[in-house]
């Protein structure tokens, strides 16, 4: 099924207006302005306006442009299912787990690879929580293990095995040179190799994570910027409950 094409909007529907800025490694001159204009043309933009062009250092110039793109996207064809939909409070999650699963869920979280940005995963796990939303440690229905920072994927997998963990929460904040994707992939592959993948709810998170990317990496869910602990808690609870029901059925 396809729908209407959505284009950027400046002040009129379908005007396609986009703001851009970039640096070119050339001394500033009127020629440089023109180069910026032609470059935007080559990128496929129309009505290119170089509204600012100036030297920012010897051999470098900075430009601000406005231009129209002829491109559009069809919203109907985009599948980016949100994972932040099971709105439940802490009390509801606790009651739900008690009711459907009847035992505490074991959750292990870590900042993997060489990443030491624990603030994000702490926000999800620590008692205190994030933006007034309590962290998983405060839930009666979870037993949480915060493994901290710079945890090698194999260590996390070993821990999972040893402690019969139900859900793994892996965080990556540093994204330079694709290190986040590399580490997430490694973790998923190791779990698979150890035969643990189907036993756990595998969740990743970080400011550049999207749920779509997570599912492409074989994760059950991915949580991006601004995630609240209760959103993660609800996802874990619901996903595990469904799995258990399916297992029972089989």
């Amino acid at each position: 099924m396809t729908g209407r094409l959505i284009k950027p909007y400046g002040d009129t529907m379908n005007d396609g207006k986009v703001q851009m800025s970039f640096t070119l490694p050339v001394e500033w001159s009127e020629t440089a302005d023109e180069a910026a204009r032609q470059l935007a043309g080559k990128m496929g933009f129309a009505d290119v306006q170089v509204v600012e062009g100036r030297p920012i250092a010897g051999g470098f110039s900075f430009f601000v442009l406005y231009a129209s793109t002829p491109q559009g996207v069809d919203l109907e064809t985009i599948h980016a299912p949100s994972v932040r939909t099971h709105a439940m409070t802490m009390e509801e999650v606790d009651a739900y787990v008690l009711d459907r699963i009847g035992r505490k869920l074991r959750v292990a979280g870590a900042c993997i690879g060489t990443d030491a940005h624990t603030v994000g995963i702490d926000a999800i796990l620590n008692m205190k929580g994030y933006k007034g939303d309590y962290g998983l440690e405060r839930y009666h229905s979870f037993e949480t293990f915060n493994l901290g920072s710079q945890v090698a994927p194999e260590d996390l997998v070993a821990f999972t095995k040893l402690h019969a963990v139900d859900a793994i929460l892996a965080s990556q904040v540093v994204t330079q040179k694709g290190s986040d994707l590399k580490n997430f992939t490694e973790l998923a592959e190791l779990l698979e190799a150890e035969g643990l993948r189907d036993r756990v709810v595998l969740v990743c998170g970080g400011p550049r994570v999207t749920n779509l990317m997570a599912s492409e990496l074989g994760y059950d869910a991915g949580f991006g910027r601004g995630t609240l602990p209760s959103e993660v808690a609800a996802f874990i609870a619901v996903t595990l409950a469904h799995r258990l029901r399916e297992e029972t059925r089989v």
Binding site: G10, D11, T12, V51, G53, V64
Partner: protein
């Protein structure tokens, strides 16, 4: 925060402003204009257009013989009402289609004409009162956020696009929406008619457009639980008519300056002085806050040099507004943040100027305009200049705050520009909410000295103007370096002396006088 101000200098400035206005006011009392007369007709309910889209009000006034016109359109029109017994609006339509001509009623005596009008004057004023009370009730029901009131413009040319943009801006936090007029509308000697979808750099100010926008804003006000104000432009050749129309459609503010048209649009000064007076009487009655245009001094010349002229203009605007019966609470005096961002301590100068106005006009809802002239294509830098403008505004307690756009030098605002601009203002004004309360200015320091200089410069300027008379002073380019002669400029032919027995029943009623020919 408080500047120590030479209060006697302030008093002298007010006295000078009064001395400056007095002779002009005598001129005003002795004259009327075609637009004043058309406004009178519009207040009676004359609306719509005749052949060639000429508004009926224009048709009627243009058709009046000179001698009739000098006694005011009301009298001639009243004769028709008396004779036909028609409702004024219907009579207007009938005249437009040529069914009647006012000349047909020449025989009706003055007293009968005025008598026939009396109930219509009363009902017209009652209608304005209703609109005013409606505003008060809505403001009570949906209180605004505290000032500075964030004000943004829409200007697509198409009232329906403007409507979407206005609603979006209100949702983002805007408290006042201005629909920028199409370029050059201030030079049209009539008010266009009906909803419009094409304009140049703005959207025509028409009664229908006012109504469309007001309805949309009322709706979003309800949704947001806070009243979103609407404003438009009066200054121009049709000040009184726009004032009348805006009152009818419950606009909340109007750009209305006693000299803007003269200096910046080359409109004849006599025309402007007479027009501003009646328009302001109407604004006063309908509870519309006026916004004056001192910012224009700063966009065309150096902002540091022009500060005294801005203050002088504020005094003059205040004086003329008082003379039109406006309370301070409706006098939105203008200023702008236009000092070169490259000037060392420019921010201090801006603070000095804004605070000076705040203290000299403590009860005026000051209107503070954003940086425009020094904005460039560097939107990142522009956003910062806007930020300091926002800070100055909240520090000095400005009231009506025009949000600056990071794309000011590039295009009329995109939807996102407005959102970023409002985000800027909200962030700064919240994080520095009470900063102004917590600081004092060093006595004799750079800020205070600057304020003193501006006040002294203003007094000197007012003194010169008072000495030569306002009209002569404008002729001598004392304001904004612009020279305008008393009988030059647009619209001069629409100014005429009031004959003995001239009647403007609304003017009389608003002054609480009986009206008689």
């Amino acid at each position: 925060m408080e500047l120590r101000i030479d209060r006697t200098a302030v008093d002298r400035c007010r006295a000078l402003a009064s001395a400056i206005a007095a002779p002009v006011q005598e001129f005003i009392a002795a004259h009327s204009t075609v637009s004043v007369e058309r406004a009178v007709l519009r207040l009676f309910g004359v609306d719509g257009v005749g052949p060639d889209d000429v508004p009926v009000a224009n048709l009627i006034v243009d058709a009046l013989p000179e001698a009739e016109r000098r006694r005011g359109a009301a009298l001639a029109f009243g004769r028709g009402v008396a004779e036909t017994g028609l409702d004024p609006g219907v009579l207007g339509e009938a005249i437009a289609v040529g069914r009647y001509a006012l000349a047909d009623f020449a025989g009706v005596p003055d007293a009968a004409a005025l008598g026939a009008l009396r109930p219509h004057v009363e009902s017209a004023l009652a209608h304005l009162r209703v609109r005013r009370e409606e505003r008060q009730a809505l403001l009570a029901r949906w209180p605004q956020l505290p000032p500075p009131l964030l004000y943004v413009i829409v200007a697509s040319g198409n009232i329906y696009e403007d409507r979407s943009a206005a609603v979006a801006a209100a949702e983002a936090g805007a408290q006042i929406i201005a629909v920028i007029r199409s370029t050059g509308q201030s030079l049209l000697d009539f008010v266009p008619f009906g909803p419009t979808t094409e304009g140049f750099g703005g959207t025509y100010a028409t009664q229908a457009n006012f109504r469309i926008m007001r309805a949309a804003l009322d709706q979003v006000s309800e949704k947001l639980g806070r009243y979103v104000m609407l404003t438009n432009y009066a200054s121009g050749l049709c000040m009184p008519e726009i004032a009348a129309t805006a009152a009818l459609e419950r606009l909340d503010m109007l750009l209305n300056d006693s000299m803007y048209g003269i200096l910046f649009r080359d409109i004849n000064m006599k025309r402007t002085f007479v027009d501003q007076h009646f328009s302001r009487m109407l604004n006063a009655y309908s509870g519309i806050v006026i916004n004056t245009g001192e910012d224009n001094y700063l966009t065309t010349a150096d902002a540091v040099d022009q500060a005294p002229a801005v203050l002088a203009s504020q005094f003059i605007n205040e004086e003329f507004a008082h003379r039109a019966g406006m309370p301070d609470a409706q006098i939105g005096l203008g200023d702008a943040y236009e000092i070169d961002p490259g000037l060392e301590d420019g921010f201090l100068f801006q603070v000095a100027q804004a605070q000076l106005a705040r203290q000299i006009f403590p009860n005026a809802p000051l209107k503070y305009m954003p940086p425009t002239k020094h904005m460039t294509g560097d939107i990142f830098k522009g956003h910062l200049v806007d930020a300091l403008f926002n800070l100055t505004s909240v520090m000095t307690g400005q009231t009506i705050h025009l949000c600056g756009m990071l794309t000011e030098a590039i295009h009329t605002p995109y939807l996102a520009d407005r959102a970023l601009s409002i985000e800027n203002a909200r962030y700064i004004m919240n994080t520095a909410r009470h900063f102004g309360d917590e600081i004092a200015l060093r006595p004799g320091g750079r800020i205070e000295r600057r304020a003193e200089d501006v006040l002294a410069g203003c007094e000197a300027l007012l003194d010169r103007v008072a000495g030569m008379g306002l009209m002569a002073a404008i002729d001598a380019a004392l304001f904004a370096d612009v020279k305008r002669s008393p009988d030059g400029g647009r619209g001069f032919d629409g100014v005429f002396p009031r004959a003995a027995g001239y009647v403007n029943p609304f003017e009389n009623a608003l002054r609480g006088e009986p009206f008689t020919a």
